[in-house]
């Protein structure tokens, strides 16, 4: 243990240096200086998109959920001032680097912040769920406005904004029909499917698509590689754990309990953090709709209860349902929620910066499940319910 301490300190330093850089409120760099149109990046973890590099343009495919090429969306990212290549009739053309864009999900805000281009967000689906200090300052200054969520997009407002791109949150199986007016008006719409990625690194890797749109491959390669390095060394660290304490996730509602399936994002986190998960062998990347009774035997004996839901105190759990007090994790107090970074307007940074900092999330989870492996670690996103 002791001879490894230096390694852990170094590890922690890398985790947090990454994080701090994104949080700093530095003035935006001039658009072209740090850009790197000639540098390429490769996708290693994400299954939902591909980038191919050509002279003066990049070809992006957003694949459907199964990852095959039958029903994909094609985007031509053409360097400004260069002609659009032929042979891609169905592709949407996006002149890059984009100087402004509209984001529909807090995950996109997190990615933009990670890339240091948060000031280029000129419109948001909803202003309610934002953490990024840069974006919040822009909202206050009126430089970032609300354009409406999926159901009631304000098309006229959107078109008058002239954004370089709208980054919508949808899976490619969903119809693009509701964005047709916008596409006809010459505004490219990317349907991001990062939330369908089943691995933490895969989800975070969508930041490379953001980088490709602003020619910042050089920067993303450096930053994402450092995320991967910290993540991998944390996985290595957690694998030393001798025991695998069992974890339950979420809370039943009206007798049904939605449990993350074995190949889901959350199940990957639990495995990587050295936790035991009863549903680890189930198929699927979504969640399993189980009966409360089917989960009860595991819930009664599991050591930890994570991501409990909309609760802040132990008392909130029993007021939802007094039966939860019989859970082992409840009596030992091992209850942790992912809402430590919820700000004054009720927006949880877990969904924003958390998505691009999986190494921080993993460090939090390891320090919860195996505190002896990361001594002195202060949780960033997780807090214990009192």
């Amino acid at each position: 243990m002791t001879n490894n301490r230096f390694f852990y300190c170094a590890l922690l330093l890398t985790i947090f240096s990454c994080k701090e850089r994104t949080a700093q409120n530095t003035p935006p760099p001039a658009v072209n200086n740090s850009d790197s149109p000639r540098v390429t990046t490769t996708i290693r973890y994400a299954r939902g998109f591909t980038i191919d590099y050509h002279d003066n343009y990049k070809l992006v495919h957003v694949l459907d959920r199964k990852g095959d090429l039958t029903d994909t969306l094609e985007y031509l990212l053409v360097q400004k001032g260069h002609p659009t290549p032929d042979g891609h009739a169905k592709a949407q053309v996006i002149p890059i680097p984009i100087s402004s864009f509209v984001a529909m999900s807090s995950m996109h805000v997190g990615m933009a912040d990670f890339m240091g281009i948060a000031e280029r967000i000129t419109g948001l689906g909803s202003l309610q769920y934002i953490n990024s200090p840069i974006v919040r300052a822009n909202i206050k200054a009126g430089k970032t406005i609300q354009v409406g969520l999926d159901g009631n997009l304000n098309n006229e407002l959107l078109i008058s904004l002239h954004p370089g791109l709208i980054m919508a949150m949808s899976n490619p199986e969903a119809t693009t029909a509701k964005y047709k007016t916008l596409m006809d008006a010459g505004i490219p719409v990317i349907l991001n499917a990062e939330w369908l990625e089943s691995t933490p690194l895969g989800r975070a890797e969508w930041v490379k698509l953001m980088a490709a749109l602003v020619n910042k491959e050089d920067l993303v390669n450096k930053k994402f590689d450092s995320v991967v390095r910290s993540y991998d060394s944390l996985v290595q660290l957690a694998s030393q754990a001798k025991e695998h304490p069992h974890v339950i996730i979420g809370m039943p509602y009206k007798g049904s309990w939605f449990i993350p399936a074995g190949e889901s994002y959350m199940a990957h986190f639990i495995r990587d953090a050295g936790g035991g998960y009863k549903w680890a062998d189930t198929k699927g990347v979504g969640s399993l709709a189980l009966n409360f009774e089917a989960v009860a035997p595991e819930a009664l004996t599991a050591d930890f209860w994570l991501n409990i839901g909309y609760v802040d105190r132990k008392q909130d759990i029993t007021s939802k349902d007094p039966r939860f007090a019989s859970f082992r994790s409840f009596s030992t107090g091992q209850l942790y929620n992912n809402n430590k970074k919820t700000n004054d307007i009720g927006s949880n940074d877990y969904w924003e910066s958390g998505a691009v900092n999986p190494q921080v999330l993993l460090a939090d989870m390891i320090s919860i499940l195996h505190p002896e492996l990361l001594p002195g670690h202060t949780s960033v996103y997780y807090k214990q319910l009192q």
């Binding site: 009631n152 509602y253 009206k254 007798g255 189980l290 009966n291 009860a296």
Partner: protein, 352 residues
């Protein structure tokens, strides 16, 4: 309305058979579930004999038994309130929802769930000292009571019951469209929570809530039993009822109150559960071939409870870990049953 000895005997046999069926369904519902527990262990747990697995004890005592009692309460309440509505409006398609009470409860719940992000955030509601499941329930009851008051006020101005029926349906439609507007402007996650509620569930009522729901339903049923003579008279037409000394206005008020209490509280606690209210009164009339409410009300309780318990058993999809929402199962089971009964008798009458 007097029964002959022979008829009475046959009625008693039928009631006894239904009771047996009910007891069977009751124990079946406790015995079956996604976790397989041997029958002997279940009996030991129910009789609170010492020993045995503590997980099994938790499942039986904290999950299955509250759910089974909720099924009994909801089955009784919904079918009796359906019977009352069919009699009051002399229409075999009437059900508890026609007065808009269910829609009112939904509005209350939607107000709490969907407003969670806008005017009144859940944080401010928590400041008021209400939290968790009680909040939803109180909102549901308030919504149901609000719509009920509106309907009662209108009913004072309206003489004809059929007009009353139309007004009830219209009030319900307006209420539902208010909910739709709300949904249209809400976040998808909030809508998902609300959708989950509309699927209906027997599994979310525990502890003190079960007692409150039981008490409210018991009160509604007592009012209903006491007014069974009035219901008989109403069935023969308002003129006849008047000649028997039943004031239609007052009868209507009492029936609306008891229906609102039954359907409103059950909807607030369990979410909307459809079909029991329409189907069970038909079955009761068909089985007992009578329109006497002193027979029909207990018959509705027995059949409604049995049907609800069986639907819960089916909804748990024995052998699987998942469960179907109760509102889906009642419709899937109820509709074919009613169709079969109509085809068999080739008539659908509220006169038995």
């Amino acid at each position: 309305m007097q029964l002959t000895n022979n008829q009475r005997k046959r009625k008693d046999i039928k009631l006894a058979a239904l009771c047996l069926l009910l007891i069977g369904a009751f124990f079946l519902d406790i015995a079956l579930g996604p976790v397989r527990i041997p029958l002997r262990s279940i009996c030991r747990i129910i009789l609170s004999l010492p020993g045995g697995d503590s997980t099994w004890q938790y499942i039986v005592m904290q999950i299955r038994i509250p759910k089974t009692f909720t099924a009994v309460i909801a089955g009784c309440g919904l079918s009796v309130s359906g019977l009352q509505m069919q009699t009051l409006f002399r229409n075999p398609l009437a059900e508890p929802a026609v007065l808009g009470v269910t829609a009112g409860a939904s509005l209350g719940v939607a107000a709490v769930m969907l407003a969670g992000g806008s005017i009144t955030t859940l944080y401010t509601i928590r400041e008021l000292g209400l939290s968790g499941s009680w909040l939803i329930t109180i909102a549901g009851c308030t919504g149901a009571a609000g719509v009920m008051l509106l309907v009662i006020l209108i009913s004072k101005a309206v003489k004809d019951n059929i007009m009353m029926l139309i007004i009830g349906v219209m009030v319900g439609t307006v209420t539902l469209s208010i909910i739709s507007i709300w949904q249209y402007f809400s976040d998808p996650e909030l809508i998902k929570d609300y959708l989950m509620w509309t699927f209906g569930s027997l599994g979310g009522v525990t502890g003190a809530q079960l007692y409150v729901l039981g008490l409210a339903t018991f009160l509604g049923l007592v009012i209903s039993f006491l007014s069974s003579k009035m219901l008989d008279a109403l069935l023969l037409g308002e003129n006849y009822a008047r000649s028997m000394g039943v004031t239609t206005q007052r009868a209507r008020l009492i029936i609306i109150c008891s229906t609102s209490l039954l359907a409103g509280s059950i909807t607030a606690f369990c979410g909307p559960i459809g079909f029991i209210g329409i189907a069970v009164p038909q079955m009761a009339r068909s089985v007992f071939a009578t329109s006497n409410h002193r027979v029909l009300i207990p018959a509705c309780c027995l059949i409604g409870t049995t049907l609800m318990l069986l639907c819960d058993v089916i909804g748990q999809l024995p052998g699987s870990q998942a469960a179907l929402p109760i509102n889906i199962v009642t419709a899937l089971v109820g509709a074919p049953t009613v169709i079969w009964m109509i085809l068999r008798k080739n008539n659908l009458s509220i006169f038995g």
